[in-house]
Amino acid sequence: MRHHVWAVLSRVRELFRRRSRYDVEQDEEFSFHIDMETAENVRRGLSEAEARRAALLRFGGTQRFREETRDARGVVALDNVARDARFAVRRLRRGPAFAVGVIATLGIGIGAAVGVGTIVYDVLLRDLPFANPDRLVRVGFSTEGIGITGDLHSAATFLYFAQSARSFTELGAYSTSDGFAITDGDVPERVTVALMTPSVLTLLGARPMLGQLFEPGDTSWYGPRHSVIISENLWRRRYGADPSIIGREIHFDHGERTVVGVLPRSFGFPMPSVDIFYPAAVPVDAPQITSRYFSVIGRLRDGVSPSAAESELNALIPGLSKHFPEVTPDMLRASRARVTVQLLRDATVASVHAQMVLLGALVAIVLLIAATNVLNLFLLRTERAAREIAIGFSLGASRVALAQRFIVEGIVVGLAAAAVALPGAALAVTTKFGFTEREIPRLHEVSFSVETVALVLGCAVLVGVAVALVAFTRALKFGLIDRHREWTAASSRAWRRAQDGLVAFQIAIALLLLVAAALLGRSFWNLSSANIGFEPRDAVIFQVPLPWGPEGYVSYDKVATFHANLTDRLQRFSGVTSVGIALRLPLASRGAPNLDLQLQPAISAGRPAVPAAANVASAQYFSTMGIPLRAGRSFRSGDLRGAPAVIVSEDLATKLFGTTDVVGRRVKRLRDGAPAMAFTIVGVAGDVHWDRIERGYVPMMYFPLLRDGDGLPPDSNPIQYLPMVLQYAVRGTRLPSATAIQAIVTQLDHRVPAANVRTLRSVVDDATAHVRLTMLLVSIAGAAALLLALIGVYSVVAYAASGRIREFAIRLALGAAPARVCGMILGEGLELVAIGTVAGLCAAVGTTRFLRALLYEVKPTSVAEFGISTAVLVVLALVATLLPARRAARTHPAAVLHGE
């Protein structure tokens, strides 16, 4: 079978081989042979022709022997390699400690490096999947002087730059929203919508899967076409990949739109979750300059750099005053308006740039540590085999053969490590550690491909061979030295010192990671047992967005009526005990708290207004959520009359009045350019959080959601607040499924979806997810670093001990106690551990402050965590030092000395 394989391989080789020197020589040799045989035949009496024919016959098939000699040249070389490989495998099997140590270390190091490295590369460095991506930029417009954060444009600035700037071939604007619902078919669905000018699609070079893109005249609100483009995901999910989708009308909660095209999954801009693309309504006739919600991207002209474009646009800013007289030059100056132009790729990943770089650096360090550990282990084993190598050399073994032996061993180890690394790397790249595109942009572009596999194999084999070669250079020294001299003294001082330094470094890193893991663990523990202010079990939550526009719910009364009806229907479901409604649920908001209420006690003498968050709650909200009412009562019928009732949180009550005994007092809400509105406090609710437990409680005022028509004009909005999306919480012993909920909602109004149905518990989990995840990652990294450091300690101490084995043998033979020898080695090892520990502690003290954002009620320099981590590390390192020390102490002096 094997020969069959070789035969096939050699046929293939022949196809590519040119006539080599060997072939020429072989032919010369053959013809010499045949000529000699012919001459011999002639001497025996045959004619010239017959003699030659007989000679050829006797020779056998010339072509066949030509091939066989060629094969023999190749096959034997390969045979040697196969033999070396088998030998390497046998050696590894006979030394399982070494094999496991080396393969595990290298496997972990490379798996982590390639897995994390792929993610970092795909997110940070790879080009965006558009045509000529290095010409694509994001144009930001910031006005720090007037306190507006972010870099969004208004329609006015976008149009102005689009018309005046010369540096771009095209500019486009877009924004996203998820306040839309598709209402055709049986089940309405909430969708994420991107509104973009048609130029966005052309400048990105988008190609539709079906149909076409927007035309320059398309806008969403004006003009006859009313077109939309849908995503491939939506097309498959909701319309079954129906090819007749083009030209069909889709019903939205605010009207109908015609589908003109389908964009493929690979487009993914601005986010892969966008299902519908609207042409953006940029009002050309009367562009607003104040409301800013457009992100602007552009394609640079050839030869124009981002900084040149930035300069040009900044120079155009003063011209805004001429175009828009309501913006005076003074206002422009005061606002410190500035344009930034950044590569689109960099802008997309700006939020995680620092973390990705840090991650890349960490993973490179881990790989370095793993490689040096493997090198140490290889050197240790080579040292142990020094005697045999020296004997082999003296018997005439060639250096080349030994080198080949080492290299093949390196390849075998590399391949075995690759087998360990591949699942690790695959796991890392496919799960992305549980992160999504929300936390890390461009994550959807990360994929596990053939290149990843090739990278793992390549790295593993490369590192294996490199390590083997370094070990080989050490092994060479054995042959040059008379074996009666001490090959122990062959280890140079510098080499030893470098090894020691590396191990101390590994110990320091391991300690640093352990401390970080301990701090994060404690944080997570604190978070999990923090008081969240409500009862998360046995409840389900979802969102109900009501349609707006001419056919929608335009008044408070209509909204309240709908929700009251829905609450009734839900409560009739068996197993449901109560239903509550609010604008915001605790821990479920996102981003910085929106404290847009300015409140004062009704009787206040010039005290500053207290900012607070606004919320809306139904009467049963507090009991459904398990939020305690510290004083007073919840809402009830009649609360909308007069100064409407409100409920304040404890924190807000204290901030306003200095006490929580505030039931019956009045509070006024200040508004710019309108008279203040007064409200009566009827209850004080327990505090809750906004988005994260770490931020602490947020002062909150709850407005009532009541169906209350007595005496109020039907269209009035008594609290000036008309939220279109409300959150529902349903508590019960048996909870309805998502489809059941949707069915109940659809019965009331077929246009309304019940979105994002999930358990209340999931809100709490999400709020702690980031800490949990970081803690897990750091713990895994810490455990890996600790393992590697322990292996490092063991190998360095064992290496040093094996070098002094003759000295120990003499000491033992002269009567020294084994414990003494053990103690000597232990001492040296401990010195190393001590240095590493001190270095690690210093590093930890200096760097754990960067964890502050993730720590909850734990100081970055908390003594308990530092102490525990140090203790664990030192004890384990002691054990790692003890093993080789005891082994050395148990040397049989006779065996060592007689072996001389």
Binding site: E29, E37, F59, I391, L395
Partner: protein, 123 residues
């Protein structure tokens, strides 16, 4: 032991070295060259005297065997001019080959005596 299989002094182990000794041909080549260096044709003549079927597939079969032995480092080659002013490639045993021949012969003899045949040759 690292020593095993190191360099070219492999002590023949039956399980790994079947390819090294392909039948008696390699042994015959080594034996013939142990007496004097020769070129390929001269070798075939001498071997045909010693064994009937070592070269039964054809005289040319000696050349692959020679290449294998050369790759192993047991024989060395040198181009020389013969009496007739022709160029020919001469083969000779190397020191390693000489040692190997001794060991191969020893193990071959063990094998042969175990099977009950006698190889008539000078050693």
């Amino acid at each position: 032991m690292l020593l095993l299989g190191l360099g070219r002094n492999a002590v023949a182990k039956a399980d790994t070295n079947e390819q090294v000794l392909q039948g008696t041909l390699d042994l015959l080549i080594l034996k013939t060259l142990s007496l004097a260096p020769m070129h390929g044709w001269g070798l075939t003549n001498r071997i045909e005297q010693l064994s009937n079927d070592a070269l039964s597939v054809g005289q040319g079969s000696i050349y692959p065997a020679l290449v294998r032995l050369e790759q192993r480092g047991w024989i060395g080659t040198e181009w020389r001019t013969t009496e007739n002013s022709r160029r020919a490639k001469y083969y000779r045993l190397t020191a390693a080959g000489r040692r190997a021949f001794g060991q191969e012969l020893a193990s071959w003899n063990r094998f042969v005596s175990a099977v009950g045949l006698i190889l008539a040759a000078e050693s």
